[in-house]
């Protein structure tokens, strides 16, 4: 049997243990040390204490990127989940063969990677929008990726288009798990579809929110590929997200130690947000 004493128990665990050690835990430890040095990638860095952290909090570019990332995450998490719920509600109606068609179309953007999605939307915002602007002579459609505000919305639109279908699938599986009798009983009692949705479906979807919010939040916070392919952080770094700020500090400026201190700050923010989010939604799950 697989007790602590048995060789098989440890043998089965060894590969996973080694993989986690060299890919996660050793880098986490060396990274924490690097963040306290002025290491530039080549020579061994000198220990400088918390200087990097102090510098990071004074680095306006980094702070701006964190604020931009937070704003982006909040807006896209809300939009993605609202749209995904609407799509899931639509697809779970009795639609016959259309169910599969709709589900496929809504999920499709999720099959495609961030880099390619970024280029697709670069074309839409730069070229197609320009054509619409020419056609209608409405100024609104011109130069979408040239200003911070429209650049922000460009990224949000891309990300909502990408993620909604994925979250829709998760909501669908939870909606399909709601016992038919409950819905029928509500129907018999004369509940309107809206009442059924708010009073019955929504509370029963609480466990789904734990998953979908975790996935959308962490994916929004960590976004890099889409940012790179759509705006490259421009104009003037105004749409640069935290991940890109860290990347550029490390691999363009070669300030590895400094970049790592930003990475650790970023890591702590994500861990704290994830834990808060999970504990809140878990609590709601129990009370619902």
């Amino acid at each position: 049997m697989l007790t602590n004493r048995s060789k098989s128990f440890w043998l089965l665990l060894t590969p996973a243990f080694i993989a986690l050690l060299i890919v996660l835990f050793i880098p986490l430890m060396t990274g924490t040390y690097y963040s306290l040095t002025d290491w530039n990638g080549n020579t061994v860095g000198e220990f400088i204490g918390f200087d990097n952290y102090i510098r990071a909090f004074q680095d306006q570019g980094f702070i701006d990127s964190l604020v931009f990332t937070a704003k982006f995450s909040v807006v896209s998490v809300v939009l993605i989940n609202v749209i995904a719920l609407i799509l899931a509600t639509l697809v779970t109606q009795k639609l016959g063969r259309w169910t599969t068609v709709f589900r496929t179309v809504f999920f499709m953007p999720n099959l495609i990677g961030g880099i390619i999605l970024g280029f697709i939307w670069q074309f839409i915002f730069n070229k197609a929008f320009e054509s619409i602007g020419d056609l209608t002579s409405i100024q609104f459609f011109k130069g979408w990726l040239d200003t911070p505000e429209t650049g922000f919305w460009g990224l949000v639109i891309l990300f909502v288009w990408q993620m909604s279908g994925y979250m829709m699938l998760i909501y669908i599986s939870f909606l399909n798990n709601i016992p038919e009798e409950i819905l029928e009983a509500a129907n018999m009692d004369g509940a309107s579809p809206m009442q059924t949705f708010i009073r019955i479906k929504l509370p029963m979807l609480m466990p789904a929110f734990t998953v979908t919010l975790f996935l959308t939040l962490s994916n929004a916070f960590k976004i890099y590929d889409q940012n790179l392919a759509l705006t490259q952080g421009g104009p003037y770094n105004s749409t640069q997200m935290a991940a890109m700020n860290i990347y550029n500090e490390a691999f363009s400026m070669r300030n590895m130690g400094f970049a790592q201190s930003k990475a650790i700050i970023f890591l702590i923010i994500i861990v704290v947000i994830s834990i808060i989010q999970i504990s809140i939604t878990r609590k709601k799950e129990i009370s619902a």
Binding site: L13, V23, L24, L87, T100, I115, L169, F174, A243, A263
Partner: protein, 300 residues
């Protein structure tokens, strides 16, 4: 005896069928009225959702001048030249083969490594076991950017970049999630099953291989679906760890292609369509598994 019971069954069936029939016919009619509206709404939304793809596809057949003039009209003819050029410049076959190798190699590692770990942990209820489980779960929270710099530095120092390095890095990054999923599934597989095999004299690895792994197939589907979408599409990690041009994966090659043919949209769009279409066809063919994989992954 036999006859009466069969007769009873025969007598019972039409009745049951009848009541069900009228019932469903009634609700069906009621539902149909309501649903045609829903179907139209769905069609409108699907068209809206699909429109970006549509624009990319029609413009990929245009010449540079045509795209410059107007991007919203249909192309004057089917111009396949963009595709042949993009196919060449993208080194499509090689890039796809590289992506495939990295994706499949990493998947194979992850399926075995994480199912083995989850099996060991689920069959041992000691404190040490739950502590190890907790340590593995920590990996779920760590964002890639938090370890990106030291990770690349470490793998660079021991010359473990490019394809083998990528596979091991993906293994480490995906182990937590996959072990988590397998662990959830293993709790539903009764221990008495493998205990019986032990009594029959089977050793642990035989049980894992012959009994546990086959029973875990639905979870393996989930693990493969979730991870293959990630590995196939990832740009960030390959951009840091692939340093030989001959080993570029599709997202990498696509990025350099865009830099090289800056604003030559006719070629760029053909390249985009070329990369997207196989994935969409694959998805439609395997849709059942993908949908099930994602749904199962979320519920556990």
């Amino acid at each position: 005896m036999m006859r009466t019971s069969r007769q009873l069954a025969v007598n019972k069936n039409p009745l049951a069928k009848d009541s069900k029939h009228t019932d469903s016919a009634l609700t069906k009619r009621k539902r149909n009225d309501k649903n045609s509206g829903m179907i139209i709404l769905g069609i409108v939304m699907s068209l809206f959702w699909f429109y970006p793809f549509f624009l990319i596809i029609i413009n990929s057949f245009k010449t540079k001048a045509e795209i410059f003039q107007n991007t919203l009209t249909l192309p004057s003819g089917i111009n396949a030249e963009n595709y042949t050029t993009a196919f060449e410049k993208l080194d499509f076959v090689k890039s796809a083969a590289n992506s495939l190798l990295v994706t499949v190699g990493s998947l194979v590692l992850i399926v075995f490594v994480s199912s083995m770990a989850a099996y060991a942990l689920s069959r041992n209820t000691s404190k040490i076991s739950s502590m190890i489980y907790f340590i593995i779960a920590i990996g779920l929270l760590i964002p890639f950017q938090g370890i990106m710099i030291p990770l690349i530095s470490l793998f660079g120092k021991v010359s473990m970049l490019n394809q083998p390095g990528l596979m091991i890095m993906y293994l480490g990054l995906a182990t937590s999630m996959s072990t988590f999923l397998y662990y959830g599934a293993l709790r539903g597989i009764p221990k008495s099953l493998d205990e019986a095999a032990v009594i029959d004299g089977a050793n642990t690895f035989y049980i894992y291989w012959k009994i546990i792994l086959p029973l875990l197939k639905p979870t393996t589907v989930t693990v493969i679906v979730l991870n293959s979408l990630w590995f196939w599409n990832d740009y960030l990690l390959p951009s840091l760890s692939v340093n030989k041009a001959g080993m570029y994966t599709i997202p990498l090659k696509m990025f350099y292609f865009f830099g090289e043919f800056n604003k030559q949209w006719h070629l760029a769009l053909a390249a985009l369509v070329m990369v997207i279409i196989p994935i969409i066809i694959l998805f439609i063919a395997l849709q059942k598994y993908v949908v099930k994989g994602i749904s199962d992954g979320a519920i556990k």
